[in-house]
Symmetry: C2
Subunit: 289 residues, 2 copies
């Protein structure tokens, strides 16, 4: 995992515009938002899925960088005063606190096309038609029927009581879509999987995406701000429905465990090549930050 | 022109998510931001350049819709309180006034991937490799070295005295990049142009992009809010450097005329097929709104 994280840091450094190029302040802020932090869960998933599909790691690196830029932009915009109004992220001031609100807005606006640009200009599939399909997937999971849509459902749910299926729908959009894309696009860099195996991988991805959110909700209520590197307890403070508010802490923890078992089961027909994806399911559920 | 504008309205309606699909409020706001207004200058340029290159109008429609979505998102974000803080656009309340700030942020965030999605999922070039190249161009002109970068340069210039070349650099990024993309991508939908002709077309595009901005600055200082459908006089109020603040009104008007002549000259080697692009250079410089 450390090797992938280090590799990603180098790759992201390279794909981001240099800080000395005009407009310098924007480029510095983009680098601040993307580099030097984060667990890189999505790149880890992309590399693990790529391994399963016998993909060239150089291709997976491009896909993972594009996905991480989308993820980083979403954090910058989510932290803005008109959204979650948060001041701490990855143990540092959020982008709009470190720079300013207008610059943070533009950081997100510029990271997004950069993701599509690098995915269009580097070869990540055997033929350009397949690559266009991958670009379409990334665009779809980022948009109003994916991540941005999940954020809108989240906004609309503040102060409301959601049912468990409604909460799940929100998270399938908000965090699940991009996590699924990391797994699917990582695997699409290679060509070793058949349709049936892809189906299993998608089930794994969906389950792991939900598990990630369940654990996030547990940690938000259970861990300290220092451990998380972001403001703890803010879901309750903002009256946001979470797995903990709906199920209680114990049952939310148990749900995380169930989803971990389900993710592992989805991979049961894969042999040793599935080891890394199994480890990641453990990492996602058992993590403390 | 009316025919292209009507065609675009129908196309954009079709490409935008229906308002009754979850998240409904976000989808309504996206449609509010894109539909029912605007001169559609970029689509007009794309169709005219497409005509010159003997392109299938069905392809140009896709490219023009993608570009118009990028343009519409940029207006929504530019109008936000942390940027220009404007309340009027196309004669109606701006998106964050009609909906709310968080929704307007997400409208922009969701329109951007929708642009890339439709450009990835509809055939706009003879082969997928050429289509990837077109996607890359749209991404590049939207990012930190294109439109978003121009916006950052704009932010940094408030209250400063810029030289004419500095002002030009800002506008080449801020509005010029997307206008050039409209011309270039429209032409790339067809295959009738050789490299030399493409060079001329790019010169036309660059000149027309600058002319557009010069005229915008003149109108901002010269026309009424009612005519413009957006707040007049705001450049001066916000102490933004403009062609008028640097050159004075008369010389700015003369520069618009010069650029119009230069744009026409760039097209001189084209025959009747260049007629529409010539008309558009006139429209852009002689418009009153």
């Amino acid at each position: 995992m450390g090797a992938v994280q280090a590799r990603m840091e180098t790759a992201l450094q390279r794909f981001l515009p240099p800080p000395e190029i005009v407009p310098e302040r924007l480029h510095r802020a983009m680098r601040y938002a993307v580099l030097g932090g984060g667990k890189r869960v999505r790149p880890l998933l992309a590399f693990a899925a790529g391994e399963l599909a016998a993909a060239d790691p150089a291709r997976v690196e491009v896909v993972a960088a594009a996905i991480e830029m989308i993820h980083a932009y979403s954090l910058v915009h989510d932290d803005l005063p008109c959204m979650d109004n948060d001041i701490l992220r990855r143990g540092r001031p959020t982008c709009h606190v470190e720079f300013d609100e207008a610059t943070a807005l533009l950081v997100g606006d510029a990271l997004q096309p950069l993701a599509f640009q690098i995915l269009a200009e580097h070869v990540v599939a055997d033929d350009p038609g397949a690559q266009l399909e991958m670009l379409k997937i990334l665009a779809a999971v980022s948009g109003s029927r994916g991540m941005a849509g999940g954020q809108a459902i989240d906004l609309a749910s503040v102060g409301k009581t959601l049912s468990l299926p409604e909460l799940e729908l929100m998270h399938i959009h908000k965090t699940g879509a991009l996590i699924r894309a990391a797994v699917v696009l990582g695997a699409r860099c290679g060509s070793a999987l058949d349709a049936k195996q892809f189906g299993r991988l998608e089930r794994y991805a969906k389950t792991v995406g939900l598990a990630f959110q369940v654990v996030d909700d547990v940690l938000d209520c259970d861990a300290s701000t220092a451990t998380l590197g972001k403001t703890a307890g803010k879901d309750a403070a903002q009256e946001k429905p979470t797995y903990v508010s709906i199920l209680g802490l114990a049952r939310a923890r148990a749900l995380g465990e169930e989803l971990r078992a389900e993710a592992q089961a989805a991979l049961s027909s894969f042999g040793a090549e599935g080891a890394r994806l199994r480890q990641l399911a453990d990492f996602i559920v058992l993590r403390k930050f």
